[in-house]
């Protein structure tokens, strides 16, 4: 265990903290350019956050500690995931905690905290958003579990570090039928889980169509900043995890020096930026799905993930 490996989780947390608003900014900027607009620049989410953090904190009358704590729990769970998943190195002291089931559980803690915060306001839209958010989470979380599980079968472990290390060792394992199926399934649920098009429209003004936004309608000032920051961090962490599960080139291993760690940090930032560019580009071409069609999309991605697990276990048993 080198000093570098000890620093890696801290670097991951710092990178996600600082980079998450920029990821959101890149996606908005791509959208603006493709729509013929100029766009506010990739740093605009940072300007918004800086302003919200210094505004008056408001607690709506009738809300309890659940409302006040929800943003901290959402942001905390996202940061914990950022610390433990293998983004920069597969060889960090927190690696043994980066179990697939633990990470999905942490994601769900954030989702539930967000829903409870929405429910606690007692408004019609808060409750409606919470019910929709939980419905989507209930459909999306099993798919995340299953699609990563398909990748874990060849590696023989549900530890994300081991999975990523195995893929880095033998990159061709993901270029297979289970790998392709799992990739599509995982991308679909990441879009659903982070409230992007076509499941949810993050820039809507119509409360009736909102899912994620409806739960944070009553948040103002620093708490709103924390909520928006947290949702950007969740997106960033999931995109980074997706990049490393399927393209772990350059990730630092046990024997990497300072140069290797630096290269891994630059590479993961570049991979996330490319994914954000692609996702932002796709969002221009898709409309929001009708709410009752969303379960069909998520059921479809679940079937893909199930097929990925089935084929993966078939290949694993055929080889073994």
């Amino acid at each position: 265990m080198t000093v570098l490996a000890m620093v890696a989780p801290a670097a991951q947390v710092a990178g996600v903290l600082l980079g998450a608003p920029l990821v959101a900014g890149v996606m908005r900027q791509v959208r603006a350019r493709l729509e013929g607009r100029v766009g506010a620049g990739v740093a605009q989410p940072w300007r918004d956050l800086r302003k919200h953090l210094r505004k008056q904190a408001m607690t709506p009358s009738g809300t309890t500690v659940v409302f006040s704590l929800a943003p901290a729990v959402v942001a905390g769970s996202a940061l914990l995931i950022a610390a433990i998943v293998p983004l920069v190195t597969t060889f960090s002291p927190l690696d043994r905690m980066a179990d697939l089931f633990a990470v999905v559980g942490l994601l769900l803690i954030g989702t539930v905290a967000l829903a409870l915060g929405g429910l606690d306001t007692g408004t019609a839209f808060g409750g409606m958003g919470a019910s929709r958010g939980i419905t989507i989470a209930a459909l999306a979380e099993p798919t995340i579990l299953l699609s990563v599980f398909a990748l874990s079968l060849p590696a023989g472990s549900s530890n994300l570090g081991v999975i990523v290390a195995a893929t880095a060792h033998d990159p061709w394992t993901v270029l297979s039928v289970p790998g392709a199926l799992a990739f599509v399934a995982l991308l679909t649920v990441i879009v659903a889980e982070t409230g992007r098009l076509p499941v949810d429209n993050p820039s809507t003004h119509l409360e009736l169509t909102m899912i994620h936004e409806a739960m944070e309608l009553e948040y103002a000032g620093p708490r709103l900043a924390l909520m928006e920051w947290a949702s950007a961090m969740r997106l960033t962490v999931l995109l980074a995890l997706l990049a490393n599960l399927f393209a772990p080139w350059g990730i630092a291993g046990a024997g990497s020096g300072a140069g290797g760690f630096l290269l891994a940090t630059v590479l993961i930032a570049a991979k996330v930026a490319v994914l954000a560019l692609i996702l932002g580009g796709i969002e221009v071409f898709v409309a929001k799905l009708r709410l009752f069609r969303v379960p069909e999309l998520l059921a479809g991605s679940f079937v893909l993930a199930l097929l990925a697990v089935t084929t993966s276990s078939f290949f694993a048993s055929a080889v073994g």
């Binding site: 013929g36 607009r37 100029v38 506010a40 918004d48 505004k55 904190a57 103002a220 071409f285």
Partner: protein
């Protein structure tokens, strides 16, 4: 023709930004570079809304200055009020203002919101916005042109 080809052919729709207007002293320094607006119609005919929608459209592109419309007054820094205040909208206007976190500003858009316009003294009319809440910035016109709205909002964000 497919959408990607259409996007390539049309290219940039937004017009070039006019020279930056002088910043106004009434605007809080916190709102430099980022302004989120909740828009409230308290009795408008709809003309001011069309011009506001046009100002946020791709040609004038207010979003490039860091200005955006939001869905909740709790997320907002500014209230954009259009129309003359009608009796039914007097209390909702006060409640909306109370939900906006400090520092906040109120912008009255159009002659009706600024002075009452042709509806002054009418049945069911309370008066201009300034008779109900404090107004920081007025954009006159019936309706004001999108350029005026863009210039007024840019003087707040200073971009």
């Amino acid at each position: 023709m497919g959408w990607p080809a259409r996007i390539r052919r049309i290219g940039r729709i937004a017009e070039h930004a006019p020279p930056q207007p002088l910043p106004i002293t009434a605007a809080p320094a916190l709102l430099r570079g980022s302004l989120q607006i909740r828009y409230v119609d308290v009795g408008s005919c709809g003309a001011c809304e069309l011009e506001i929608a046009s100002a946020f459209g791709p040609i004038y592109d207010l979003q490039r200055y860091g200005i955006s419309l939001v869905a909740s007054p709790r997320h907002a820094d500014a209230l954009l009020v259009t129309g003359v205040v009608t009796r039914n909208m007097e209390a909702p206007l006060r409640h909306t203002l109370a939900a906006v976190p400090e520092p906040r500003i109120v912008i009255a858009v159009g002659d009706c919101a600024c002075t009452g316009g042709v509806f002054t003294g009418g049945y069911g009319v309370v008066g201009p916005v300034s008779s109900v809440i404090d107004v920081d910035l007025e954009i006159p016109g019936c309706p004001p042109r999108p350029e005026q709205i863009v210039a007024a909002l840019r003087s707040i964000v200073g971009r």
